[in-house]
Amino acid sequence: MDGCRFKMNLTAILTRCKEGDALAWEALVRQFQGRIYGMALHYTGNAEDARDLAQEVFIRIYQNLETCDPDIFLPWIIRIARNACIDHLRRRKARSQGQGVDPEELANLPGRGSTPEQDWQASARKRLIHRALEELTGLNREIIILKEIQGLQLEEIATLLGVPLGTVKSRSNRARIELAQKVLALTHE
């Protein structure tokens, strides 16, 4: 992922993207594809759906590049991704498809150990955390995804979810506690 990061100013990249520069657009996609795909995977729990959704999100971003503000680019793309994921989940609910974490995809979650064994253990731990995340209630899961994983500010989350800031603050702590309890429960299984 780090190899895909550009050192140019995001504003400059966006300006070039708005002018139709395909090279800049490719760099932008490479920069944010992991984040968008990761977010879609957290929401859907299905690798194939997540890939399709991530592609759809990038098309929406491309179509609306003229309206984006470089200062709030990350919250903006996260908002687009979240809306796409919510739409997708609604459609899937209407089709009554089961929701579950894709074990194959979660097996690819990167570890961070120095040896293969440590790497495998770290990866297993991430899979377990992902499973615990899937078990959270709707709003708590969203707050964890947006705040703890994507790193949005509480004010941005409140705007995005359309709930009062106080609710997000109190829910944020509760969601973390709930996730930790789920992780502990899964660890002892």
Binding site: G20, F58, P110
Partner: protein
């Protein structure tokens, strides 16, 4: 001094508030009576503490019969404690609770681990061919996108945004009404002008008197203006008589036309007000 008297006055010895002789008597009794000596050490807080297991049992029993377990309160503050947002007193209380509560201690450790691992889940690589598929898809969206931005797409986008607004229909209706009023006039003003004959019909005699007076005044003014104009015209023709013949003939013709137009205008002036 017996043990009963010692128990009654032990607070003086513990706090050092007794008189000298009394304190000496209490001390002498404590030196010879082992039970009272142990009691004095307990009161001074010098006895050995309870075993940890007994302490926990005691605390649990007391909490169960009073406020209930403190874990819920600790968990409410745990995130703030981890994020260094809790105040100093809360920090100390939580640290003390965690030292003696294995469940909350495990929870705190898991929360710390989540704080490190969750940000790493933000980005997951979708695979090597993903970028290419996105680029293919976006090229399909705009196959002939210009390399440099021109004004036409921006204007088209602006127009699209305007017509999609919910108020657009009302604004268009307002602008259309204004255009009709400007081009065709205000029908309300015309209605008030046409209403004049009805007023005349209702108050016929009085209106006729007013109209007659107004007309006679206008006619007199018109005749005076005409006389003055004729005099000026004559003086003008007199002064220009010496000019070359073709020029004076042309000037005279123009002046005659002008005077005739003035006459018609002045004659029409009074009736026009009543139209």
């Amino acid at each position: 001094m017996n043990c009963r008297e010692f128990e009654d006055r032990i607070d003086m010895l513990a706090t050092g508030t007794g008189a000298g002789a009394e304190t000496q008597a209490l001390s002498r009794h404590a030196a010879v009576c082992g039970r009272c000596r142990r009691l004095l050490m307990a009161v001074r807080g010098l006895t050995e503490p309870l075993a940890p297991s007994l302490q926990n049992q005691l605390i649990r029993a007391v909490m169960d019969r009073t406020t209930g377990p403190a874990c819920a309160g600790a968990q409410e503050l745990l995130c703030d404690w981890l994020d260094h947002r809790a105040d100093a007193d809360s920090n100390e209380l939580i640290a003390l609770h965690l030292r003696h509560c294995p469940a909350c201690s495990n929870l705190a450790a898991t929360l710390m681990e989540l704080g490190e691992v969750l940000p790493e889940l933000a980005s997951i690589e979708p695979g090597p061919d993903f970028t290419a598929s996105v680029l293919r898809a976006t090229v399909c969206v705009h196959p002939r996108r210009p390399s440099r931005r021109s004004a036409a797409p921006a204007l088209a986008a602006c127009w699209n945004r305007i017509i999609r607004r919910p108020r657009f229909v009302w604004e268009a209706a307002y602008v259309g009404t204004l255009a009709v009023l400007l081009l065709l006039g205000n029908p309300a003003i015309r209605t008030s002008t046409f209403a004049l004959p009805q007023v005349v019909a209702r108050n016929g005699d009085q209106v006729l008197q007013w109209t007659g007076a107004a007309l006679s005044g206008r006619q007199m003014a018109a005749h005076q203006s005409l006389s003055r104009l004729e005099e000026r015209g004559k003086s003008l023709f007199g002064t220009v008589a010496d000019l070359p013949r073709r020029t004076t003939a042309s000037l005279r013709q123009k002046a005659s036309t002008l005077i005739e137009e003035w006459k018609m205008a002045l004659q029409d002036e009074a009736p026009r007000d009543l139209r």
